[in-house]
């Protein structure tokens, strides 16, 4: 098997779709097998966040804390203080939506390796509506010193990312989603914290995508190709620390950047890329993401599409962007 099958036509068809949370569930069980210090904590959502596989395999290392997200992460910090590697999981809307300060003080500032897992992030909780659609978590966690932020692109990568953060010495945030989304990687695809991956080469524009947006960016690139636009697609599963080298290398070639995320474009991944470009390279930037609004109820992929996060919107906006914004060329 190749590292990336990338048969775009197959991306949205079963069996090539699975929720990233399922990959987290498998990855946590594997991390638990590999390291006896891995402990799972959940706030009354064990199956929903897919921690049940770990809980069934290691009941003695699974701790139910009830619907109490502040306690979830502070108990986790106490466990980490005595050498455990706690995974504290709930919906992203509450974790880190409700307990951000506790995470900051007791894990990040305190330099303890608590692993925060925000499941059901972004648009794919669809029918639950705006209260449960967490779009602000990337921004919230990205600004926290001592915090690694990982947003895997599909379930296979989520499995690897979970194992990787278990072995990482610092506090980490893992963002996963509820709905089945396309799988674009394979067990052989590389994953390393802090690395971005060029999935498709192009020369007119670089589409930087994170999380479940990456397969949609790939589909958008295929649409753009038909319009004569050559889009490079860079998958950025680690939002912090950013793989500046890979990103800037691509942009030196294409001179235009588009970011895609299932989150607020302001302050989120797009915000991070805007900071990087402000610091290092004034290439034109289009940030595709949620545009300073809340979501609303709808079928999961309907919400995703209506918020302008699907491949059709990515392609259309990128096409217009390429037509109206000149490429940045170093030395100009």
């Amino acid at each position: 098997m190749s590292k990336y099958p990338l048969d775009i036509a197959l991306l949205t068809e079963a069996p090539n779709v699975e929720p990233t949370r399922a990959g987290f569930g498998r990855g946590l069980k594997m991390a638990g097998e590999a390291n006896l210090n891995v402990v799972g904590l959940c706030a009354d959502l064990v199956e929903s966040v897919q921690m049940h596989k770990f809980a069934e395999a290691f009941p003695e290392r699974y701790i139910e804390v009830g619907i109490a997200e502040q306690n979830l992460v502070t108990v986790a910090a106490g466990l980490a203080r005595v050498g455990k590697i706690p995974f504290a999981a709930s919906y992203a809307a509450f974790n880190p939506g409700r307990n951000w300060e506790q995470i900051k003080t007791t894990s990040a500032l305190n330099q303890l390796p608590v692993k925060i897992v925000g499941a059901h992030s972004g648009s794919t909780v669809g029918p639950d509506g705006a209260t449960h659609q967490m779009f602000e978590d990337i921004a919230l966690m990205r600004v926290m010193p001592n915090m690694v932020v990982v947003c895997p692109g599909d379930s296979i990568e989520a499995e690897k990312a979970t194992q990787a953060i278990a072995e990482h010495p610092s506090a980490c945030y893992l963002r996963v989603a509820r709905e089945k989304t396309p799988i674009f990687s394979t067990p052989e695809s590389p994953f390393e914290i802090g690395r971005a991956y060029v999935l498709r080469e192009g020369h007119d524009v670089t589409i930087l995508a994170t999380g479940i947006e990456t397969p949609y960016a790939l589909m958008a690139a295929a649409r753009l190709e038909k319009d004569g636009i050559s889009a490079e697609v860079v998958h950025v599963p680690t939002i912090k620390p950013l793989d500046q080298e890979t990103i800037l290398l691509s942009l030196r070639k294409t001179g235009r950047a588009v970011t895609c995320e299932d989150a607020q474009a302001a302050g989120g991944f797009g915000g991070g890329i805007a900071e990087l470009l402000g610091d290092a390279m004034p290439a034109p930037l289009l940030r595709i993401g949620v545009q300073d609004r809340y979501g609303e109820s709808g079928a999961p992929l309907e919400v995703h599409k209506n918020l302008g996060l699907a491949d059709d919107a990515i392609a259309a906006r990128t096409k217009e962007f390429v037509a109206t914004r000149p490429q940045y060329r170093p030395g100009f």
């Binding site: 402990v39 003695e60 290392r61 701790i63 804390v65 009830g66 109490a68 502040q70 306690n71 502070t74 108990v75 986790a76 910090a77 106490g78 466990l79 980490a80 203080r81 005595v82 050498g83 455990k84 706690p86 300060e101 506790q102 003080t105 007791t106 500032l109 305190n110 330099q111």
Partner: protein, 286 residues
């Protein structure tokens, strides 16, 4: 560690800690006075008599853990740690200064011997519970104890009661929480800001073993910890009645001293009072 100092020596040590508190706060020019002075007897007794800790081996895997949940009271912890030999005593003069290991609120990673980072209220009982859970269920370390100090105003925080439920459910018998019941918080008396009574009833209803003691009576502190350790299958809450500003006459019972330091003149008066008191402690026991 226990049993090396007599009650009289512990009282004198607590008095020295109070001098440290007044000195460091006056020098810092900001910080909290009343709470730390009220906690001096308790924290001194814990570090000098009760806890198994070694300033020369702060990572001892068998040590007891002390989590200060009401981080603003950290001058008492610094004051005790300085006496106990965790760091040179003159370092208390760096409190709250740029570059100091003695941050305004405790930061574990800066000062060896601190076990947690706190300040934002309400999360210390949870951290203690997490550590106690690991000792009881994961690591079979039944010889270790986790001591947590919380304020009483701090009990307004919901996080505390989430932790109370959690520790009750899991019967964390190695967890001992002291509630510093000094009846004051920033905006006034606790019972007027947000009533806590029946405080004993609250903790008991969450499945805790509860004792109430005079937090300035060292024998009561020792006895209560002995009782808490003997209780099986329940976490322990020791409601520790203290006098805010204890032993500095013009601060005692006055909530206005919650969040401010003494100025130079006030510190002089306070230190004189504490020196005189040292003499009284000696004569009482002789």
């Amino acid at each position: 560690m226990g049993g090396q100092l007599t009650i009289r020596q512990l009282e004198n040590k607590a008095n020295d800690v109070r001098k440290n508190i007044v000195t460091m706060l006056e020098h810092a020019g900001s910080g909290h006075s009343a709470g730390p002075l009220g906690l001096a007897d308790l924290v001194t007794t814990l570090y000098f008599d009760i806890m198994h800790v070694d300033p020369q081996n702060v990572d001892d895997p068998n040590r007891d853990l002390f989590f200060l949940s009401n981080g603003h009271c950290v001058p008492v912890q610094y004051g005790v740690m300085a006496e106990r030999g965790y760091f040179p005593k003159e370092e208390i003069m760096t409190l709250r200064k740029w570059g100091s290991r003695l941050q305004g609120h405790p930061e574990r990673t800066r000062l060896p011997g601190l076990e947690n980072t706190s300040g934002p209220l309400g999360s210390g009982v949870s951290q203690g519970a997490g550590a106690a859970y690991a000792m009881q269920y994961l690591d079979s370390q039944r010889h270790r104890w986790v001591y947590v100090v919380t304020g009483d105003g701090e009990l307004n925080e919901g996080n505390i009661w989430e932790a109370a439920m959690f520790a009750g459910k899991y019967k964390l018998s190695q967890l001992i929480v002291f509630v510093d019941r000094n009846n004051i918080q920033i905006d006034g008396p606790t019972e007027s800001v947000m009533p806590l009574e029946s405080l004993r009833g609250k903790w008991e209803s969450f499945g805790w073993h509860v004792q109430e003691i005079d937090g300035h009576n060292i024998e009561s502190i020792q006895d209560a910890v002995g009782m808490a350790k003997a209780i099986e299958n329940r976490p322990s809450c020791i409601i520790t009645h203290t006098i805010p500003g204890k032993n500095v006459d013009f601060m005692e019972y006055d909530y206005k001293w919650h969040g401010i330091p003494p100025n130079a003149e006030q510190a002089k008066v306070a230190l004189k009072e504490l020196r005189t008191l040292g003499g009284k402690i000696r004569s009482e026991h002789e």
